[in-house]
């Protein structure tokens, strides 16, 4: 593998202490006419790390990727690779490999010519060219398909050719734009695994854009959540799930329900709230600000709730069930009209039954309190 991609890209995770990031984005901003696409984003990515940019459409994630690739010039901010400021470096000289959403394979060139295109830019010719094209194709399990026409390939094969083409010239950074959006669902999961394994094997620093949280969580070592051009939170999938920085991240990542509550005041280890006519005590994660008494919202993960009879239980009516095998998600409508989702064994209750809902004893991390006016 080193023969193809060079020893420089061998994976080495930072082992604590101050590490200069491999790829850094500092205060990056870009607007188109009157809309702000990317708004003051700062991020750093370690060598060999895979970062997923996650966000709904219009969140600026694709613009971020294009700013990294150099197809757009930022209005402010810098892009730095290995200490070199590449903000004004043309894409031609940037040596970032990119896999486009629709692959952008050259339809008039065959597979081998496509994969060799970037190598020829570097002046690679003759036997060495054929050799390196062959190795890049072998890397994506398409050895021997050099002379195949692009339109004779299946969608999954085209994507692998695009990947091989981007990797062949040994780029410093690999950029993937919605890598799985063009594949049908059955192929998507398998391809996701293949891409993940390939990139891990190659050890190349990678930034990918997606609007699917499954993809982001599965592929990204860390996930950066974007909304309206702003970076809302960046962290490992576990961090984002367990401690969302705000209601948007919490709602965008994983399943959750939201109910309006009133904060009554702080307690020894958390916050006392009034919710649906009962009082609960919510644990406050370390580092989170104290929320002053008044209106707030409670975001709850389904697994942080349980069904049960208790004076402190919220009472509601079961309106629906989503079956997922060992457990089911029950939708419960409360007296005030809020809807809560609770995990329970499939046969626990039936639709139409009145039930009580309590915080689960184990999953204390699944209850998050946010300010009411926060988007």
């Amino acid at each position: 593998m080193d023969g193809v991609l060079g020893p420089a890209r061998t994976r080495q995770r930072a082992g604590g202490g101050a590490v200069t990031p491999f790829l850094a984005v500092e205060g990056l901003a870009k607007r188109f006419d009157r809309t702000v696409a990317v708004d003051d984003v700062t991020l750093s990515i370690e060598r060999g790390e895979m970062l997923a940019l996650l966000g709904p459409s219009g969140s600026g994630k694709t613009t971020m990727l294009r700013l990294l690739a150099g197809f757009e010039t930022p209005d402010a901010g810098r892009v730095v690779v290995e200490g070199e400021d590449v903000t004004r470096v043309e894409p031609v000289h940037r040596r970032f490999g990119m896999v486009f959403q629709h692959y952008a394979l050259f339809p008039h060139l065959d597979v081998g010519e496509n994969v060799g295109f970037g190598l020829e830019s570097l002046g690679v010719r003759g036997a060495e060219l054929g050799d390196r094209v062959g190795r890049a194709l072998a890397l994506v399990d398409l050895a021997g398909l050099e002379r195949r026409r692009v339109d004779q390939l299946s969608g999954g094969q085209q994507q692998r050719v695009a990947l091989a083409r981007a990797l062949a010239p040994e780029p410093r950074v690999l950029l993937l734009d919605e890598p799985l959006s063009n594949l049908d669902p059955t192929l998507r999961e398998r391809t996701r695994r293949e891409i993940r394994d390939l990139i891990r094997r190659v050890g190349i620093t990678t930034v990918l854009v997606t609007h699917e949280q499954d993809e982001a969580f599965d592929l990204g070592d860390r996930v950066a959540v974007l909304r309206g051009g702003r970076l809302e939170q960046v962290g490992t999938p576990d961090e984002l799930y367990a401690a969302p920085a705000n209601r948007f991240v919490g709602g965008f990542v994983g399943r959750s329900s939201v109910v309006p509550v009133t904060v009554l005041g702080p307690t020894e280890w958390g916050t006392r709230i009034a919710v649906e006519g009962v009082e609960w005590e919510i644990e406050r994660p370390a580092g989170h600000p104290v929320i002053l008494p008044g209106a707030a919202v409670l975001m709850v993960r389904p697994e942080a709730l349980r069904l049960g009879d208790d004076p402190q239980a919220i009472v509601g009516t079961v309106t629906g069930r989503r079956f997922t095998g060992p457990s089911s998600f029950f939708t419960v409508l409360t007296a005030s009209g809020a809807t809560l989702e609770v995990v329970a064994p499939p046969a626990a209750v039936r639709a139409g039954e009145r039930v009580g809902i309590l915080p689960s004893r184990r999953a204390a991390g699944g209850l998050h309190l946010f300010l009411a006016e926060e988007g």
Binding site: A69, V92, A104, S121
Partner: protein, 555 residues
């Protein structure tokens, strides 16, 4: 200099060139019309409005054009449905044959009609013989004759566009309509026709503009009936140059007005790209109906091909041997030999080839530059370049010929005016300007269809601008370039309307030689030239056929 910088300089240069070649001559014509010996004057305009002949010619242009649209639609739309929706015997061949009038250059079509339906044409003579008459049943003259030729040569626009529209119809839309209980008529009215609306509007506009600028048919068949293009030529021959300028301006105004009216009429949804499969052709089950439909289709095709066949036949007739017989009594290949052996007759062939080639190469270069430079430009310069490239399309050929003749008959380098009239360069220039719209439409469509991420992919793989252009952009644009070039060449090669106003003896093209051969009653040679024009047009068309429809207003 940066990438963006060179692009901006290139765009500015191109904009300047187009302003000078396309807009400036037209502005000069407008100014000439309102200028007298001492300063500005409206005398010529008053004279124009006051003369009944002028008003009649303007009115004639308008109603002839509208009637041409109606007739062309009446012929082209049913044909498109017949060929596009029904499974006829030999349907594919039929579909191609029916489009063949497109390869007849305007003057050649007129000449063929003369041989066929003129006073001494086949059909007239045959009918006289059959009915035992002394006089032909009709005279091929006046508005009727013009409309006949227009309907014949312009139905192709309706036929091709409507057929393409029918092919692009999503079969599942028809199925959905059927499953919702819509009968055949309701499906046609509520699903098919709305889908075809853009095609119909486009064809109507194309036909109207072509008919408005049409010169060959009114010139040959008009007689006392004048339309504005022939009126302009007559006025110029009378030496009333400034009145001719006002006439030119009036014709240009009519054209632009029509463009505005049709544009507002053609807006609205419909004709969007198809997602599902195309509809299957309707199989006619009943035998009698099937035979009838086949007969109608093939009968029409035969009728539409008669002019081509006539031309070929006449080209083999020796000079002066064919007078009153329905079919020629003798045949020879001498007419063709004369075209290559007689230096006087070879000249127009050579002229037409080099004139059209120069104009084509230049038109393709400018159109390509325009398409590439404007593809990713801010909107203002892009709109300006696109508008200037399209403008000659909205202006009848006669108008442009007069405009160029006006602009380039004076030497005044500071005003950007040079003497080109009377030199060999005026015709290529005229062809070039007239060809810009069709060429750039084909090439711009090609550039727009390119996935911009291909460029970006090449850049991210380290390919510089030159390498991207040579290795990615140009190879992918080849079909569009070929299509644009073939359209430009065919139009320039067969041009009559601008040539007749700007040619010199040394640069006389084929079309003018056809006219002078006809005047000398050298019918066979005229037909032989016509066949050559027709064949070359057909071959070039075939070479360039990557798809794009024809979109020029032939003279």
């Amino acid at each position: 200099m940066t990438r963006r910088g060179t692009g901006a300089v290139g765009a500015a240069l191109l904009l300047g060139l187009l302003l000078w070649l396309v807009l400036y001559p037209l502005v000069l014509v407008l100014a000439e019309g309102v200028r007298g010996p001492e300063g500005w004057t409206l005398d010529h305009v008053r004279e124009f409005v006051g003369r009944p002949t002028e008003m009649r010619a303007l009115w004639g242009s308008l109603w002839i054009s509208l009637a041409s649209v109606a007739l062309a639609a009446l012929l082209g739309v049913p044909l498109a449905f017949l060929v596009g929706r029904y499974d006829l015997p030999g349907g594919r061949v039929l579909g191609g044959l029916v489009a063949l009038p497109a390869v007849l250059p305007p003057l050649v079509g007129v000449v063929a009609f003369l041989f066929l339906y003129g006073e001494t044409g086949f059909v007239s003579l045959l009918l006289m013989r059959l009915l035992g008459l002394e006089e032909p049943l009709w005279r091929l003259e006046g508005a009727g004759a013009i409309l006949l030729v227009h309907a014949y040569s312009m139905y192709v626009y309706f036929y091709l566009l409507v057929r393409a529209g029918l092919v692009s119809l999503d079969a599942s839309q028809l199925e959905a309509a059927a499953s919702l209980g819509a009968g055949r008529w309701r499906t046609l009215r509520r699903v098919v026709v709305p889908h075809l609306k853009p095609a119909l509007a486009g064809a109507a506009l194309l036909t109207f503009m072509t008919a408005l600028g049409s010169f060959s048919a009114p010139y040959v068949f008009g007689g006392g009936f004048r339309v504005m293009p022939t009126q302009i030529v007559a006025t110029r021959l009378n030496g009333e140059n400034q009145l001719a300028m006002v006439e030119t301006a009036s014709l240009a105004a009519l054209a632009l007005l029509a463009l505005l009216v049709f544009r507002t009429g053609s807006s609205g949804p419909g004709g969007a790209g198809r997602k599902g499969a195309g509809p299957a052709r309707i199989v006619i089950r009943r035998r009698l109906a099937r035979i009838a439909a086949g007969t109608v289709g093939w009968g029409l095709a035969a009728l539409l091909l008669l002019p081509h066949l006539t031309l070929v036949l006449v080209s083999f007739v020796p000079v002066g041997t064919w007078t009153t017989e329905p079919l020629p009594p003798a045949y020879t290949v001498r007419n063709y030999l004369a075209l290559v052996e007689d230096p006087v007759r070879v000249r127009p062939l050579v002229n037409s080839i080099w004139l059209a080639t120069v104009a084509t190469v230049a038109a393709v270069a400018i159109a390509l530059a325009g398409a590439l430079l404007s593809a990713r430009r801010p909107t203002a310069p892009r709109r300006a370049i696109e508008a200037l490239l399209a403008l000659p399309w909205a202006v009848p050929g006669t108008v442009f010929a007069i405009a160029l003749a006006t602009a380039f008959s004076v030497r005044d380098p500071l005003a950007g005016r040079f003497i080109l009239v009377g030199t060999v360069w005026i015709l290529p220039l005229a062809y070039l300007v007239r060809n810009l719209p069709i060429t750039s439409r084909a090439i711009t469509a090609g550039v727009r269809a390119l996935d911009p991420s291909l460029d970006e992919a090449a850049a991210s793989l380290g390919a510089g601008r030159r390498r991207t252009l040579l290795r990615v952009t140009l190879p992918l644009l080849r079909p569009a370039l070929l299509a644009g070039a073939s359209l430009a060449f065919v139009t320039a090669f067969g041009d009559f309307v601008t040539s007749i106003m700007l040619y010199t003896y040394d640069t006389r093209p084929i079309s003018l030689e056809i006219l002078s051969s006809l005047r000398q009653a050298d019918v066979g040679v005229a037909a032989a030239y016509g066949v050559v024009l027709m064949l070359v047009s057909a071959v070039v068309f075939a070479l360039g056929s990557g798809g794009q429809g024809r979109g020029g207003n032939a003279g």
